[in-house]
């Protein structure tokens, strides 16, 4: 479907697709960059955020309450997970961390499946973002446009917390030298807990914001986790700006390739990832070691 209107439409759509991927991936990369833990339960937490939000929506009928509940529940889940399990794995080999987070992901998926079954759950967009908007060159679902704004706002808040706040300063200092931070009287373990919670919350937030676009099922996090990893690898493992750039690139690849041959869009995504790994093994904005 090569035509100018379609090219413009697909380029724009790539931006929207990329925004959600960027938000999800930023949570993954913050946790890895700070704690060195590759959280394979991140996709499951995306899904849990969606379900928690849908349940809140069913009780209140409010989109805002649903988003707050989805993000808040996964924040608490993340903190609990860090306190009970993850902190015992900071000093253990990568394989152990991968296995324990993978296992927790399965537990979350199966618990949700047990509670809600396999049929999809959904939630309509809020009334102020329902319907379709004409952009002149194309018509586009209003809610998807709103998502770009919502995600941009969330990423801005994350940026301010990580780069412009005292917490962010401690986090970055902790990455450089956690013993030194500890000896300055700062409880670095508590900071790590907060970071894990915030990273998880990003997944939960993305999960519930995505529900009006794509109804959720217990295993929706699986394929999205794979895409989030690709984004993180392209952008640079552990790099927050890298996750945003990677997300946007991935969104554009998926959208623009589909214009030429839709069956190749996933292939192209992995081909570009391979190319990036060959030319810049640490990703586009990654640096050697943890960012």
């Amino acid at each position: 479907m090569l035509s100018w209107p379609n090219f413009l439409a697909q380029t724009f759509n790539g931006l929207v697709l990329g925004a959600l991927l960027a938000l999800l991936s930023s949570g993954l990369t913050i946790i890895y960059g700070t704690l060195g833990v590759l959280n394979l339960a991140h996709g499951a937490m995306f899904m849990v955020g969606g379900y928690a939000g849908v349940v809140a929506y069913q009780y209140t009928g409010s989109y805002l309450v649903a988003v707050a509940a989805g993000a808040g529940f996964v924040l608490l889940l993340g903190i609990a997970m860090e306190q009970i399990v993850i902190r015992h794995f900071y000093d253990r080999p990568d394989e152990d961390q991968i296995l324990v987070t993978f296992g927790l992901g399965i537990v979350y998926v199966e618990v949700v499946r047990f509670l809600f079954g396999s049929l999809s759950q959904s939630m309509p967009p809020p009334s102020w973002a329902a319907g379709i908007t004409s952009l002149g060159f194309m018509i586009y679902p209003t809610y998807r446009l709103a998502v770009v704004g919502i995600v941009a706002l969330a990423l801005l808040v994350l940026y301010l917390v990580l780069y412009r706040s005292r917490l962010g300063m401690i986090v970055r200092a902790g990455i450089e030298d956690s013993v030194m931070v500890d000896s300055l009287g700062i409880n670095i373990m508590r900071v790590f807990m907060v970071v894990f919670g915030i990273g998880s919350m990003a997944a939960g937030f993305a999960g519930i914001v995505n529900v009006p676009i794509a109804p959720i099922t217990p295993d929706i996090g699986e394929s999205i986790l794979v895409e989030a990893f690709v984004v993180v690898v392209i952008g640079g493992v552990g790099s927050f700006p890298g996750a945003i750039l990677g997300g946007l690139i991935a969104g554009e690849i998926l959208s623009l390739t589909s214009m030429i041959d839709p069956s190749y869009s996933q292939v192209m995504l992995f081909a570009v990832m391979t190319l990036v790994l060959m030319l810049r093994p640490h990703g586009l904005l990654g640096s050697q070691g943890r960012a």
Binding site: S120, I213, P215, P262
Partner: protein, 450 residues
């Protein structure tokens, strides 16, 4: 992120075990058992025969997706299998109405079963098959929601010499180029669905329309797309675009933008399971369904329930079974009533298919009077007619395809629905015999019996 589950239906109490043990002793002395033993001695060991059928019970392996894109249909299939096996072991009235040959159990033996998650992946489905054969000495394995797993297990069945009954599988290949001596399919070819649906679409929507296809990227999607294209040509319909997406796609936006910009009049959505739900919902979000008419050549179970009657109203679809057929077919009424009593909901076509597969399998074994696989296959191939929930049906010997009607349904307006589950009106029940393609139309070449 999911593991294979193998839940054996083995909640046997000590009392039941003792009773079973006593049954074996008594059975060993009974004349019928002696005849069977003699028969077993006549036939050489083959697959799980005679080991799998020498005890007081026989084992059936159920391999269906319980996770992933096709999980909802998989769970509905399980409900159908469980109800059928329960009815079979009780010798229920419905089973005997389907075929008077069916007694209690199969050849007097209780049917036990195990369930494994196939994840709709061919590799996992084949592994499940292998485990059921080696660990449980299964005499039959059944189930699929993806034709990719059905085709893979067709080959496994021929190799293992154990009968396989596909669950949902709409690809032309399943009883076409990938047909198997040990496999028997209840679903019709995608081509048959297309042949029944296309004239309805042409007469309802008009001639010379442009079509956009949404096609899942595997055997089922490609064969159904080609079939629809072929029959819609008769009305001068042409293809504007074919949007092929991988199984498990969650965001269809880029495909839908291509559709929106294609100038098509009709969207034919071949996606199945959650892919169908997501693509229809997102097509609605993109305003596509206001400009283009939606048609569904192989309706996915629970589609209307998940996307809402508002979206499905007026949509023409082909399907295997819809519960309101109970107004036309007494056996459908009996089946629906039993299903409602057990599960407190109406069955989808997946549950009906599972039930019928078990019933027709039991009928074939009773007619064969033997568990020896070639005897059972020959009984199937004899093409004996059985009464189904959609009227009289029979298996064709040449390609092991069930000759059965195709049901054309149309989504009801929400205001016309008589209850929460009354999503479709039946437009037509097209008889199978005149509709179905010839057994050699898709290159079926059967393997040997032994």
């Amino acid at each position: 992120m999911t593991g294979t589950k193998n839940i054996l239906n083995a909640n046997v109490s000590r009392r039941a075990a003792l009773q079973g043990g006593a049954g074996v002793l008594a059975g060993a002395l009974a004349p019928g058992e002696l005849i069977l033993s003699a028969r077993a001695a006549d036939n050489p060991a083959l697959g799980t025969y005679p080991e799998g059928s020498s005890g007081p019970s026989v084992f059936v392996g159920i391999s269906v997706p319980r996770t992933g894109t096709y999980a909802a249909a998989g769970e509905d299939l399980i409900k159908g299998y469980q109800l059928a096996i329960e009815h079979l072991n009780d010798g229920s009235e419905l089973m005997q109405k389907i075929s008077p040959n069916i007694k209690k159990g199969v050849l007097g033996k209780e049917v036990k079963y195990g369930i494994a998650d196939s994840e709709a992946k061919p590799n996992t489905a084949v592994q499940n098959f292998g485990k059921f054969v080696s660990d449980n000495k299964a005499i039959m394995v059944t189930g699929s929601v993806s034709s990719a797993e059905a085709v893979a297990n067709n080959k496994t069945a021929d190799r293992e010499k154990v009968i396989y009954l596909p669950g949902i599988s709409g690809s032309n290949d399943t009883t076409g180029k990938d047909c198997a001596r040990y496999s028997f399919r209840e679903c019709f070819y995608g081509q048959t669905a297309a042949k029944a649906l296309a004239p309805q679409l042409i007469s309802t929507i008009g001639k010379n329309k442009k079509v956009a296809y949404l096609t899942p990227d595997y055997t089922y999607g490609h064969t159904v797309q080609k079939s629809m294209e072929e029959y819609l040509k008769d009305g001068g319909w042409t293809t504007a675009t074919d949007q092929v997406s991988p199984l498990g796609t969650t965001d269809f936006s880029s495909y839908l933008l291509n559709v929106a910009n294609s100038g098509a009049d009709v969207v034919v959505n071949i996606n199945f399971g959650r892919d169908a739900v997501l693509s229809v919902k997102q097509a609605k979000q993109f305003g596509i369904l206001e400009k283009m008419t939606l048609a569904v050549p192989y309706n996915t179970p629970f589609l209307a329930k998940e996307v809402g009657a508002d979206t499905m109203q007026g949509v023409l679809a082909a399907t295997d079974y819809w519960w309101t057929l109970e107004e036309k077919f007494p056996l459908a009424k009996m089946f629906n009533d039993a299903f409602r009593a057990k599960y407190k909901s109406v069955p989808e076509w997946s549950a009906n298919l599972a039930y019928m597969q078990i019933a027709m399998w039991a009928d074939a074994i009773e007619r064969a009077k033997s568990f020896y696989p070639p005897d059972v296959i020959k009984a199937y191939e004899a093409g004996a007619k059985v009464q189904s929930t959609v009227g009289e049906v029979y298996f064709r010997g040449a390609d092991h395809q069930l000759v059965r009607p195709v049901v054309i349904e149309r989504g009801k307006k929400p205001a016309d629905m008589k209850g929460p589950d009354d999503y479709y009106e039946i437009v037509e029940v097209v008889p199978g015999a005149g509709l179905m393609q010839a057994p050699d139309a898709f290159g079926c070449k059967m393997g040997g019996y032994t």
